[in-house]
């Protein structure tokens, strides 16, 4: 849920990057961190294993300027993608205001994408959030790889509510900011409409 602080004139929202393991969620955040203006970003926190696999979460706080005298802040989280960290994922999506699903376009990860999407729906549901209505973006990552499936095939399998779809090569920054902007726009539009997330 958005946190509105009248004392500090601040709005803070939580955006979560979800998806199968090694799909590029952390890479999205790293690119945003590297390319954001120094005064727009906070410290990036990564709780990772020795092999750079996300263990608990990554966090990147972003400040996007002001609207109507309120500072607009976003906290970007990733979840650990590996199947056995499900309890951690459930904790991290609690209170999410928007979700980006980072799908791995490779043929070998087709089933992992579908399983992760089902898992997202279930973990949101357990936190009282409906995947059909929360601000949501589908990012098809790793479009540069020769093993990537056609966009149409991935959309057929993963797109379910007419959500915005962005093709990405996160490691080169392609599609990364488009995904973020769409999440931010949807979140603020929803806040404007006064629609609860849960």
């Amino acid at each position: 849920m958005p946190f509105i602080n009248y004392a500090h004139r601040e709005l803070t929202c939580k955006l979560v990057y979800y998806g199968p393991g090694l799909g590029g969620k952390t890479t999205n955040l790293q690119w945003i961190y590297e390319k954001s203006a120094p005064d727009a970003k906070g410290k990036m926190v990564s709780l990772a294993t020795e092999t750079d696999r996300t263990l608990f979460f990554d966090l990147l706080p972003l400040s996007l300027g002001q609207i109507r005298g309120f500072k607009i802040r976003f906290q970007l989280y990733t979840v650990p993608g590996q199947i056995f960290y499900d309890a951690s994922r459930r904790l991290i999506v609690k209170g999410a205001d928007a979700v980006a699903f980072v799908a791995d376009s490779q043929k070998a990860r087709y089933d992992a994408n579908i399983e992760s999407l089902r898992n997202l729906e279930e973990n949101l549901r357990q936190n009282g959030i409906d995947l059909q209505t929360i601000p949501y973006v589908l990012q098809l990552n790793k479009r540069d790889l020769p093993t990537a499936l056609p966009r149409e095939q991935l959309e057929t399998a993963l797109r379910f509510r007419g959500e915005p779809v962005f093709e990405a090569v996160a490691i080169q920054g392609i599609g990364v900011f488009e995904t973020l902007k769409s999440l931010v726009k949807q979140t603020l539009a929803r806040l404007r409409a006064g629609v609860p997330v849960g």
């Binding site: 946190f3 004392a7 005064d39 109507r68 991290i92």
Partner: protein
């Protein structure tokens, strides 16, 4: 603004900041922070130089959430407090009602016993502020300063303008 948003108005902010300052003093602590369970910092007292408060709050919330997960696995509803002991600096975390987490950082000038006692003494007052804050959020009351719900009037242009220089 929807009824599910967490809204902190000036009055509750002043009350909770006063309580944080009092706890900082009474517990002889270095730093006191109130955080919501999603990891948003709400208010703080004292200072930890060069420490990013947002990162600290998210880690504390993650820490409490993971510990609650552990509690449920062994049949407990929750563990109400957590203590991390360092060589010279320590952190005590305690739940405040359903939505709050109180973090107290202290060193050798205080003790776990004193911190725990002061936290226990002040927690009911903090819970009351959170309850008032939630009640007001649920009631969907407008800003008492009279500015109204600030985000009902934002335009697409306002939103587009956010993606300016920083990106």
């Amino acid at each position: 603004m929807s009824a599910s948003d967490l809204v902190l108005h000036e009055e509750e902010h002043r009350r909770i900041s006063d309580l944080a300052e009092r706890l900082l003093h009474d517990a002889n602590a270095r730093y006191v922070s109130l955080i919501d369970r999603n990891g948003q910092p709400i208010t703080s007292a004292g200072s930890l130089p060069d420490v990013d408060q947002t990162a600290l709050a998210s880690l504390a919330a993650g820490n409490v959430a993971a510990t609650e997960g552990l509690a449920r696995m062994i049949g407990e509803q929750s563990f109400s407090s957590l203590y991390h002991e360092g060589d010279s600096d320590h952190i005590y975390l305690s739940s405040v009602g359903r939505i709050g987490i109180l973090m107290v950082a202290f060193d050798e000038r205080s003790s776990l016993g004193l911190v725990r006692l002061r936290v226990r003494q002040i927690s009911p007052d903090m819970e009351q502020v959170f309850d008032d804050m939630l009640a007001r959020s649920r009631a969907g009351l407008a800003d008492p300063a009279g500015t109204g719900a600030p985000f009902a009037e934002i335009t697409d242009e306002d939103i587009d303008n956010l993606f300016g220089d920083g990106f």
